[in-house]
Subunit: 232 residues, 2 copies
DNA sequence: ACCTGAACACCGTTCAAGT
DNA sequence: ACCTGAACACCGTTCAAGT
């Protein structure tokens, strides 16, 4: 019944590297990176798992590929951004682009988990860094300083910062609060800070959450510092 | 023969959560995080895989546990560090401790890969952050600013920064160079920067490598910026 | 050229059973 | 209390075979 040819059926679109990668991105968007398995990906594409190997070398190649797809998306977003000229306002120009990149990344939350492991030396990545370097030069940076700057910014140039803590999962929140309460006498500063910060932001129970505000705070700190080094 | 009781044999040390975690750290140190499987860990401990479940809930609990073990190691290293008083030299005090933490992390290279996913709200982590907060207060920071600072520093407080590129594996280096050469006309800034930087550092072919220098550059940029915000 | 079936080696985890 | 054997559902990947 599944194999029966229905004349009205749309002719099956043949598989291709691009289609595989797009389906992979969609799968990860939906269920996180651990949902991206060869078998489920194949199922999504109405094909057997082994067929994928005709279009990509292996799973690692798929992970490299999805990074490529997302960076390409970032390139498009960044090109379309409405930003001041770097010659007049370097900080503003850089800031606007990085925040645009972040918008893309927020649609693909699994990116941080694979970005380090799957070193994406590919066309979109090279293009993106080329454009950033253009901004550095326009802003009056030397190549040496720009190179240091790219390292210092790290993953922030594509819009995320590695946080030490993930937002609490429902089931762990209670255990964490219990531990926090139990250790309270030994961690007076933490208790105090938590109270101060949760007073500022009534939404957060424990005070640390990776939000837009914190990302921008760190970004501005770095961009301001870099701008100062350039003039020095 | 393996089951034969040899009277001279050392009596088997019974398993425990602590022994499981220590073996897990050793296994990851040796073969990377992907070498840490329940079956191999059990083998290392001369036990069947299923025995592990008597001492830990599951693999996730082990990953949480190894993070705990390493942060504990960081606590010890940081406590023993020879650093100036934060009241007199906040930047120096913070810097010395973070660099000490980094030394520990360099012995456990797999940490960055799991630190984000396995949110380590546990005793050692709370203790470590408590001690950092103590430094902030001693240095004259408000809790609000200290909180922003901890976010901005992110994983850098325990001694690593998320890099976008890993060092090239042997097999990929050639392919990457070929791609770089092919795209050279479209990436003039990158080509120029690479030449400039590899001139400075003859060891690096492509210019980007996460080394101590880059880590310290970014760290100092952030610490200086934070110190300036405090006085402002 | 493109896809598949059967099979392999490896996972994490369960459950009832052993001592 | 502590450990195990057998079994399950799931991986990535191979290889020879189909159309």
């Amino acid at each position: 019944m599944a194999t029966q040819t229905d004349p009205r059926a749309v002719p099956r679109i043949p598989l291709s590297r691009q289609r595989v990668l797009e389906a992979a991105v969609a799968l990860a968007d939906e269920g996180g990176i651990e949902a991206l398995t060869m078998r489920r990906l194949a199922e999504e594409l109405d094909v057997e798992a082994m067929s994928l190997y005709y279009h990509v070398a292996n799973k690692d190649a798929i992970l490299d590929g999805v990074v490529e797809v997302v960076i390409d998306e970032i390139n498009q977003a960044v090109e379309g951004v409405d930003a001041p000229s770097a010659a007049h306002d370097w900080t503003g120009a850089m800031r606007a682009r990085i925040l645009a990149a972040r918008q893309v990344l927020l649609r693909h939350r699994w990116m941080p988990e694979i970005i380090g492991r799957h070193t994406p030396m590919n066309r979109p990545v090279l293009r993106y860094f080329e454009s950033l370097l253009g901004l550095f030069k326009e802003g009056g940076f030397s190549y040496e300083l720009a190179h240091h700057a790219l390292h210092a910014l790290g993953s922030r140039v594509i819009g995320f910062s590695q946080e030490l803590f993930e937002p609490d999962e429902e089931d762990r929140a209670a255990a964490n609060e219990a531990l926090f309460a139990e250790m309270a006498p030994q961690i007076p500063h933490l208790v105090e800070m938590t109270m101060t910060v949760s007073h500022d932001d009534p939404d957060s129970t424990l005070g640390w959450c990776d939000d837009q505000t914190e990302f921008e705070f760190g970004l501005d700190l770095l961009l301001d510092g870099l701008a100062r080094l350039r003039t020095a």
